[in-house]
């Protein structure tokens, strides 16, 4: 019985090995993808899988969509070679991320790596990639420390956290230039973990550089039971713009407390996270009207970029969901990598790295609202410009950059 079982297993293993060699004889390009596919963040990995497989579908099969590599099958410069993905699960554990990255490179012979959502895992994977001289494209990990390691094989297609805060002030300056909206001072309001502290540090610095006064900088304990005294302080400071950084429960509490105490600034420019969560919008209802938040993607871009609607349809068919900030970045990341492999005309990781380094894709050729994709010496895409969205009549609409806006900004905000 066991003998038969073992023989059966052996047969499966041999068949598996043969089928992979048969695959290898066809032209294909193998890319390793590392995500949390089990554990607490598993949903992120599952969504990423749908997004990245949609991108592979776009490349491998012919689609009438105006994106690079969408028309025609496979990678033209490699004789129509198809992309094959090998998935690995890091379970949000850097040690597992390291071991999976090594396995993908040494055993599956992947030509490049894509991942990883968690910045902690990305930090470790970027080191492994550097050692084996294989490019690693980080698509949504946003810790600024990642691209400051001075690595040659690290590329990040998405923006990092500091770019978001800088964009908020760019937005304020554009408003002044284009719409004569004057912002004299801002109030910062942030939670006390890494996310909030980093956010306010950058906001403080940039406000100083741009000559905008910071009327109040209030740090609050995350998951507080009450924010009344903090809101009183904000009210007393009376700044034109409130810039809050919070996760969802605090965001709900802040907006409700502000309504109770009758405090309304001219505008709220929020740091994404809690202020765009569906549960937040549900909990505060009409009080969300007029809130502005930064983001990297909004579906209303479809009116400016036709490819967005087509890609959204493909993704929805696969996953049953709409594209989000994260999934749009993931899908784009793989397309950027495939474009580089195609331009390299080779599966040699070094040539792919060189091609990535010379990437210059205009924003119009992506589904993102970005100015484009061009990496600096550290591998950071400097053109990954964030957007500003304003909540109006039940949905977030893009209001900045001004040329991509689907609605003019409503200033001062008018609550209902």
């Amino acid at each position: 019985m066991t003998g038969r079982l073992i023989r059966g297993l052996a047969a499966i293993v041999v068949a598996g090995a043969l089928s992979t060699t048969a695959w290898a004889q066809q032209k294909e390009v193998v890319i390793g993808v590392i995500y949390p596919l089990s554990g607490q963040a598993a949903q992120v990995g599952v969504d990423a899988r749908h997004a990245i497989e949609t991108a592979v579908d776009l490349i491998n099969n012919s689609h009438d969509i105006d994106l690079p590599l969408a028309k025609g099958t496979g990678l033209p410069n490699l004789g129509g070679a198809k992309i094959r993905l090998v998935w690995a699960d890091h379970q949000a554990d850097p040690q597992k991320g390291r071991s999976e990255a090594e396995r993908l490179i040494t055993q599956d012979k992947v030509v490049a790596l894509v991942g990883t959502y968690h910045s902690s895992v990305a930090a470790v994977v970027s080191q492994v990639a550097e050692r084996y001289k294989v490019p690693f494209v980080a698509v949504e990990s946003s810790s600024p420390s990642l691209h400051r390691q001075g690595l040659k094989y690290f590329f990040r297609t998405g923006p990092h956290d500091e770019m978001f805060s800088i964009a908020m002030f760019d937005f304020i300056e554009d408003l002044k230039a284009a719409k004569k909206i004057q912002v004299n001072n801002v109030a910062l309001f942030h939670e006390d973990t890494l996310f909030g502290t980093d956010s306010s540090n950058v906001q403080l610095k940039v406000a100083g550089e741009r000559g905008i006064k910071v009327a109040a900088d209030i740090k609050y304990r995350s998951n507080s039971a009450s924010l009344s005294s903090e809101v009183q302080q904000l009210k007393a400071a009376g700044a034109d713009v409130l810039m809050p950084t919070s996760y969802v429960t605090d965001a709900i509490l802040l907006v409700k407390t502000m309504a109770e105490l009758g405090y309304q600034p001219k505008a709220i420019i929020a740091q994404d996270a809690g202020y765009i969560e569906p549960s937040f919008l549900e909990a505060v209802g009409s009080k969300a009207e007029g809130i502005i938040s930064r983001g990297t993607f909004a579906l209303d871009l479809a009116t400016k970029r036709p490819s967005v609607a087509a890609v959204e349809a493909l993704y929805k068919k696969r996953s049953g969901k709409s594209l989000t900030d994260n999934t749009a970045r993931e899908l784009t990341g793989l397309l950027v990598l495939a474009d580089a492999i195609n331009r390299a005309g080779s599966t040699d990781p070094e040539k792919i790295r060189q091609a990535l380094a010379t990437t210059d894709i205009p924003g119009a050729a992506t589904i993102m609202p970005w100015a484009g994709i061009k990496f600096d010496a550290n591998g950071q895409n400097t053109k990954a410009t964030p957007i500003m969205m304003q909540f109006h009549n039940g949905e977030f609409r893009t209001v900045w950059p001004l040329d991509l806006a689907t609605q003019p900004v409503i200033w001062p905000m008018q609550s209902k």
Partner: protein
Amino acid sequence: MVIFAYPLRLGALVAAVLLVLPLGFTEPFAQNILILTLLYAALSQAWNLLGGYCGQVSLGQALYFGLGAYASSILFTRYGVSPLVGAPVGGALSALLALLLGWPFFRLRGHYFAIATIVIAEAGYLLLLNWDWAGAALGILIPAKGDSWLNFQFQKSKLPYYYGILALASLLWLFSYWIEKSKWGFYWRAVRGSSEAAESLGVSIFRYKMMAAAASAFFTSICGSFYAQYVFYIDPDSTVTFAISVLICLPAVLGGIGTLWGPAVGAAVLIPTSELIRAYLGGTGRGGDLVVYGALIMIVATLIPQGITGLITGAARRCGYRGNAQPEVRRDAS
């Protein structure tokens, strides 16, 4: 089964096999599994000193693991101190902390002691998460400064890591072997058996518990430093979580609590299983790997509660063999 009758001869044999083993497994993935197995064997052997022999079940060993990882990493990245120095410094700090915590904690018994260890480790986790100087939630990235024993960094080959952790695991095994024969070991087991009886016979149970805690914390911390140098990155989530504490005692529980071979046998079963299952079933995103892993642990826990080594020695007994060098394997309530 005579294999456990002469621990030193068996130990030498196992060591000899382990010395040449990586020559047969040259893939980094396989070597990584061997290194992790030895790391968890060592960690569990350290846990076994306090939790096994002395019967004080700690579910907060991650605190010392993290302290070791952070101590050597901070010393290395901020002050350029070699991890070879940083690891024993971390170990000494951990032992000291274990003594400080032991002072109040060893007045608690059984489950209350276990709960206290969980709580204090959780407090350590929150502290590290909010402590900017120690990297807070961002953690510490250890820069690659070139392969050398002084930096304890090896990028080109994993073999130095392998032999490093093999040496540490062997040292811990020898220490356990020595403990089993020494006065300490007998006192520890007496404390586990019945602390009242031990005290009535003149064993200063508080002092011996403190010694066990300090020794266990010291070695756990050294393993933490090794981990940091091996992965090149630490953050509170990968070093001081409850999950790590559980992983540290799991091999000993599975292999046989309070036995010389239990931690090693348990680690040799658990770690390769978990790694292989994740690597070959984990890519589906359906969590099948964790289901299989969990089921395996439940089966072992239900069918052989005395642990795998208990199963082997039990089978040997039934076959009529009576070993005298093998210490009694007991099921322990706490």
